[in-house]
């Protein structure tokens, strides 16, 4: 098996550069992703955070080449292990999918074929990239993987159908399937959203263990900032198809500089937060990708546009610029001193206790 890793050394395994994804439809062009850039190193986890319609899943589909080729316009660059994959043919992409790059989907019940035994679905994934392997080898490997992801009696469960597993076990099967070919990059799209908290904890533990063991790069797509806080090394917050803030997880969650990130933080209650703190929702609804607001896409919902001179927010798209907290922290906002606004206006509302600790 040739791996694209020959041609790259130590740099990030995945580099997405200035990626734009557009779907022309009868109603107009949907700008699903605009000028998106990010990278993930082996052994590291990037958390992509955003609401539905923010474009957080779209770029990963492009990495796998799973977008509808007839109706999608792609521009920019995606390099996997140093190899440019944009413009590669279907056969080349197929060789990549499930092999070097694997995906874990959200709802394992829907994402596993209901009519096939999970053993078959696993071996199928193995055989697709090991054409010379025997069926027995594949089965051995599949049982090994089921065992590895913590499914009891894997040789028995091998013959079961997806519906015969509990939600958590099903997600483990998904993970086993994704990891069966030792991928270097795993894209996990809301892997725990449908699960109960205790099961979610189990799955996240498992993912983390596996990452340590295989040193793979992980992209974790989620809307749950708590999950990101515990799991991701880096975070990218997306809104309206663009990255609005990205950087190390700690910087983003502790010293966010973009009002949308503030909004996300303030709109979810915390198990330890003061119950007297009122949830501060983000007003309005997420924008339509068909017709993005001018300037900063967030400006119609942003309570801080008044602090920006003129109507800059609604006329000019802010660039993704380094933030104050560090050189690896970028934000897309016109506010002159967002950190001050956060400390003085946002923090007292959502977490007065935090404020005191900091002082």
């Amino acid at each position: 098996m040739t791996s694209p890793s020959n041609s790259f050394d130590d740099g990030p395994f995945l580099v997405v550069d200035d990626l734009s994804v557009r779907f022309p439809t009868s109603d107009g062009v949907v700008s699903a992703v605009s000028n998106l850039s990010y990278e993930v190193e082996l052994g590291k986890t990037l958390g992509i955070v955003g609401e539905s319609g923010s474009g957080k899943s779209v770029s990963s589909m492009a990495i796998l080449g799973l977008h509808d080729r007839r109706s999608t316009e792609l521009s920019g660059s995606i390099r996997v292990g140093g190899d440019e994959i944009l413009g590669k043919g279907e056969e080349a992409m197929r060789a990549l999918r499930g092999n070097d790059v694997a995906m874990i989907f959200q709802d394992a019940l829907a994402a596993l074929h209901p009519y096939f035994r999970i053993g078959k679905q696993l071996t199928e994934a193995y055989l697709a990239h090991h054409p010379s392997a025997s069926k027995r080898d594949a089965e051995k490997r599949a049982i090994e993987m089921l065992d590895r992801v913590g499914i009891p009696q894997p040789d028995m469960r091998f013959k079961d159908y997806p519906h015969q597993f509990s939600g958590g076990m099903r997600q483990r099967v998904m993970i086993a399937m994704a990891l069966i070919n030792d991928p270097k990059l795993v894209i996990a799209d809301e892997p725990t959203t449908a699960l109960d908290v205790t099961v979610q904890a189990q799955i996240l533990d498992l993912l983390q263990d596996l990452q340590r063991e295989f040193n793979s790069a992980i992209i974790l797509i989620t809307h749950d900032l708590g999950v990101v806080a515990e799991f991701a090394d880096d975070v990218m917050v997306m809104y309206g198809g663009r990255a609005v803030e990205k950087g190390p997880a700690k910087d983003i969650l502790v010293r966010p500089e973009m009002p949308y990130t503030w909004g996300l933080l303030s709109s979810i209650p915390d198990v330890e937060a003061d119950t007297n703190a009122k949830l501060i929702p983000i007003a309005g609804n997420p924008p339509s990708l068909l017709n993005l607001p001018s300037g900063c896409s967030f400006h119609p919902r942003c309570p801080h546009t008044g602090k920006v001179p003129g109507n800059l927010c609604s006329t000019e798209l802010p660039e993704l610029l380094p933030a104050r907290s560090g050189p690896t922290h970028f934000k897309r906002c016109h506010l002159a001193d967002p950190e001050a606004v956060y400390r003085e206006e946002v923090l007292p509302e959502i977490a007065p206790d935090l404020l005191e600790e900091d002082r």
Partner: protein, 425 residues
Amino acid sequence: MTDQSTGGLPAEEQREAVSNGEAKTSAESLENLIDDSHSAAMFDPSKKPVLTVTDLKMHFPVKSSGLLRRTVGHVKAVDGVSFELREGQSLGLVGESGCGKSTTGRLITRLYDPTEGSIEFEGRDLAKLSQRQLKPRRRDIQMIFQDPYSSLNPRHTVGAIVGAPMVIHGTVPKKQVLKKVQELLEVVGLNPEHYNRYPNEFSGGQRQRIGIARSLALQPKVLVADEPVSALDVSIQAQVINLLQDIQKEFGIAFLFIAHDLAIVRHFSPEIAVMYLGKIVEIGDRESIYKNAHHPYTQALLSAVPDIKQAQTGGRRERIRLEGDVPSPVNPPSGCHFRTRCPIAKEICSVVEPPLLQIDQRHKVACHFASEVGHAPERPVTAPLLGVDEYGAPDPGASPAEIPGDGPGYADTWYDLANNTRGRA
């Protein structure tokens, strides 16, 4: 009108006064609300219980596949649940999928017929009423559903959806229905002019608002909110939670708030019940549950919730890891249902079911080894009360004592774990 409907006179009169009196009330009060400074609902023991649920059970029969389709077992979805819901208060019901929290909600709205137990509401046992007798009562207890997409009929206008309960129950004269609908839409933060639009013209959050408006149409005393925000985007969840809080305050509605998200329940409800396999394993006020949980399951749940603050330290916290899955409710483990996954279970747990024991003024827990994390006692705290030895075998020396707090509400005396004595407020 049946005899039953004329029974609860005071309540009827009160409602009449509200609906016929000042139509403006709600709209006006909404404006008041907006300026209202926010504070979380606190547990108020002075309020009278509006709903008292005692030993409620819902056992769904499991039929054999044989020719005669005999009942060979039961899914004990809800298996002896007791609690009180006080006027204008909120009880949060948390637990993982399959624990029976949604079934409990549906039992209270009588979407199911309970197998056993009572649901006392305004002096009447709803569990014993026939569907016909129930009809005039239905308006008092309304439900908000999880899925804002499937719970609204796509072929009806928003006005028809919100107005239907009023028309069916005849609470509002036909001519005033539209006016009332528009008021309600305004209350839930929708444009009142949109009454003739269809649900698909609204976003998920707006649809949930429509559902809420519908549930308010009959001015219920109790609202059962079954995962009201879990289908919504994060930023929208907060909008809806805030709306529900405002409504609760404004109309003094008692909420049974069912959710799997511990943080949201904590935010919304001053009193929380934790369910596991059809039973309440721990119930208490917010402080007791979130700061002083004594049941290993509650502790595990809380520790499993990902915490944003962890970002400061990075990596994952130490947590109580639960192994395996929830067992089948058809054949739950003997004794304590949780023992198969419990980190501190001992022999007694498989023999004797722990009673829901009141251990503080407003805190009950069902565990033989009820304790703070990491401080599990050597011997079961419940043994002396149950008249058994530490392995669960009947202890000829001890005789079973009265279990403190053995009822839907909280007793004045409780069992003090620290001193193994009866405590008192």
